[in-house]
């Protein structure tokens, strides 16, 4: 299959370097045609992607691959032929080949838009790879709760790398992963403020009252912005639970936010006790 005509239907920068010379009819027609074999077209497009810093340009290839990624779910819903899954699997397979990191990151970003359960293990591999772990985490979060296992699996492998560890912890908290209660509790003991706050956020997301004593104990460890953020987690936790338990949190805030500049927090907490 020669994809050159498809690529040529997509614009190159015109005046002032912007994509103003674009023909909607032609590009729409191309997308319709490539949907006949999206997996095969995807593989060829990936071969044309280049590292952003290298010679040449891949503007049309990126544009067409992205157009396919955003439109294929709708084609799939209308035609019901598993197009989306085929396309995503083909894209995910290219991640195991030798390619520049920024190319892999771009492919992962397309899976963020259209990927499903079928690609989570391939994307999850990148949670331990510096420089791409962010992209992988955000793609997995977009795919949803079924991705949580990938973050849990990655954690032991990234324990000694603060950025990768907090990235995985962040993913679990964002997904409100019920199986990660102990992981969040462990994070409360972390000496790094960032990890401790992510642990507090994870527990806030779960709003499990049994964790409240440890949660409130860890709340006291922060200073400055951490103390401010932690108070916010306290209030959000309180909003999610029954009033009899929430009262404990508001009382905790009244007892602990005693600085003059924390008066507004005491007032809010007090208003919930009336």
């Amino acid at each position: 299959m020669d994809i050159t005509p498809y690529l040529d239907s997509f614009p190159l920068p015109a005046k002032r370097g912007i994509l103003s010379d674009v023909n909607k009819e032609e590009t729409d027609k191309t997308i319709k045609e490539v949907m006949r074999a999206p997996d095969k077209v995807a593989l060829q497009l990936v071969e044309r992607l280049i590292d952003p810093g290298s010679q040449g340009n891949d503007i049309q290839a990126r544009h067409l691959l992205h157009a396919m990624s955003v439109r294929i779910p709708d084609y799939d819903r209308r035609e019901g032929t598993g197009l989306r899954s085929k396309f995503c699997l083909a894209l995910a397979k290219t991640l195991s080949d030798k390619r520049p990191d920024r190319v892999k990151a771009f492919i992962i970003r397309q899976l963020q838009l259209c990927g499903g359960e079928e690609v989570i293990s391939q994307v999850g591999e990148f949670l331990t790879v510096p420089g791409i772990a962010d992209d992988a985490a955000q793609a997995l979060i977009a795919i949803g709760k079924k991705s949580a296992g990938q973050f849990r699996n990655a954690l032991p492998r990234v324990r000694n790398d603060l950025l990768l560890y907090s990235n995985a912890l962040h993913g679990l908290a964002q997904l409100a992963d019920e199986s990660s209660k102990d992981i969040f509790i462990e994070a409360l003991k972390n000496n790094e403020d960032e990890c401790r706050l992510l642990g507090l956020w994870g527990l806030t997301q779960l709003a499990d009252v049994s964790t409240l004593p440890l949660f409130l104990e860890a709340d006291l460890k922060g200073k400055g912005y951490s103390r401010i953020k932690s108070a916010s987690y306290c209030m959000q936790f309180a909003e999610k639970i029954q009033k009899k338990d929430a009262i404990k949190i508001y009382q905790h805030l009244i007892n602990t936010r005693t600085l003059p500049e924390e008066k507004y927090l005491r007032e809010i907490a007090e208003s919930h006790l009336k």
Binding site: L19, S20, G53, V70, D134, Q138, L169, E194, Y225
Partner: protein, 413 residues
């Protein structure tokens, strides 16, 4: 005003040396506000619109610049030098928000930071004046609304059109007709033709990575957005051309155009339910061409954006104004008997009275939603159905991935 007075001002007033550099109104005296009623103010994002946003915030408020922040050190240093050399400079907004001398925060960063900094400022007990557009995606707006409700702080979006709209008797009458629900189904159409700076704020794809200047914290600049290789166009005014930070001229100018119209047409608490765009496929990184977007509310009322810069003009429906003559005589009398809507408070009035400002979070969020819904329809190339209560697209999981875009660790809503 909060009861705890600002330490900065206390020490300034107590120091003879400080009198020479502290503005007259801070010191007090005949015709000037005494220091005990002066607000400590801060600016986050000192380039571009920053200084103007700060001045809009402190208009009609006795305020002193206490602190400023920018991820680019030369910018914050330059601003402080010009505005108040006594003010403290920061590169990280989190450190600025720890400063208890600050009551008011003006936010003029690129929009990918607006929601997170607004929320953090509310959590720190500050009132916020935030540059438009309010957010980068829909879920951010809801989180801002919740935070300001939780902390009972004042928020005002940086656009003033709705205050002018309120002054117009015709606009107030339209507002009353729309809020009454008597015009149902609503056949009216408001078309905004041009003014959305399509060509001006379209991006240049394929620019080669560069090395950022030493005084720019590129990682913090990107913040919740993907950490991409640095390109000069990604900072400064051209940040508007990247989906990572804004949403082109449509987002940049849209809140100015649609915020007042949203108030006039009584839609501050809801969003369109059907959205259709005429646009070619969008590029993954940069904003580009589109012809028109049609957004219809559940009562039938329609907003249209016609770029007038690319593609065919919108011709599905003609413009149709809401008027009393569309109602029965009995209903017209009901409208005439209705009291005018409550006046919209300016930021200054809201801060002094501890009440909600005219451009409050829910209204600003709903206005930003109009822009985000339009851009999502442009980017996805399909008709969309939206549930304004759940703030989710109906039957389109992938479209919902544009409603709540995952953020880079450690940032989150």
């Amino acid at each position: 005003m909060r009861s705890n007075r600002r330490k900065f001002l206390k020490t300034s007033a107590a120091s003879a040396a400080s009198f020479q550099i502290v503005p007259r109104h801070v010191i007090g005296g005949q015709g000037h506000t005494p220091p005990s009623e002066t607000y400590g103010a801060a600016l986050i994002g000192c380039g571009g619109r920053g200084p103007g946003t700060y001045e809009s915030m402190v208009r009609k408020l006795p305020a002193t610049l206490v602190a400023a922040c920018d991820v680019q050190k030369t910018r914050v240093d330059g601003y402080i030098k010009r505005k108040n050399p006594e003010a403290k400079g920061y590169n990280d907004f989190r450190r600025l928000l720890e400063n208890p001398d600050i009551d008011l925060v003006a936010i003029a960063t690129p929009p990918h930071w607006h929601a997170l900094i607004s929320i953090a400022a509310a959590e720190a007990g500050k009132d916020v004046f935030c540059e438009k557009p309010m957010t980068r995606f829909i879920a951010e707006g809801r989180a801002v609304v919740e935070a300001f409700n939780r902390y009972k702080r004042v928020f005002q979006i940086g656009t003033n059109g709705r205050f002018g709209a309120y002054k117009s008797r015709t606009s107030r009458t339209i507002h009353k007709i729309m809020r009454s629900g008597l015009l149902k189904p609503n056949p009216c159409v408001h078309i905004k033709k041009g003014g959305l700076k399509l060509n001006q704020w379209s991006g240049k794809p394929g620019l080669k990575p560069q090395i950022p200047s030493e005084d720019l914290d590129w990682d913090l600049y990107c913040g919740p957005s993907p950490l991409k290789p640095f390109v000069t166009d990604r900072v400064g005014g051209t940040h508007r051309n990247y989906w990572d930070y804004e949403g082109g001229g449509l987002c940049d100018m849209g809140q100015h155009h649609f915020d007042p119209q949203q108030w006039i047409y009584g839609k501050d608490d809801t969003s369109p339910v059907n959205i259709e765009a005429f646009a070619p496929p969008a590029h993954p990184d940069v904003t580009g061409m589109w012809a028109w977007v049609e957004l219809t509310y559940s009562d039938g009322f329609t907003f249209v954006m016609d770029s007038a810069e690319w593609g065919p003009s919108y011709d599905k429906k003609a413009s149709k104004q809401v008027s009393l003559s569309q109602l029965s005589e009995e209903d017209q009398q009901k409208i005439t008997a209705m009291p005018d809507p409550a006046p919209l408070l300016s930021f200054a009035e809201a801060v002094k009275q501890r009440k909600q400002a005219g451009g409050h979070p829910e209204a600003a969020h709903r206005a930003a939603c109009i822009l985000h819904l339009a851009n999502i329809a442009i980017r996805l190339g399909r008709k969309l159905q939206y549930d304004p209560e759940k703030e989710q697209f109906v039957g389109d999981d992938e479209a919902n991935r544009f409603v709540n875009v995952p953020m880079r660790s450690p940032w989150h809503l």
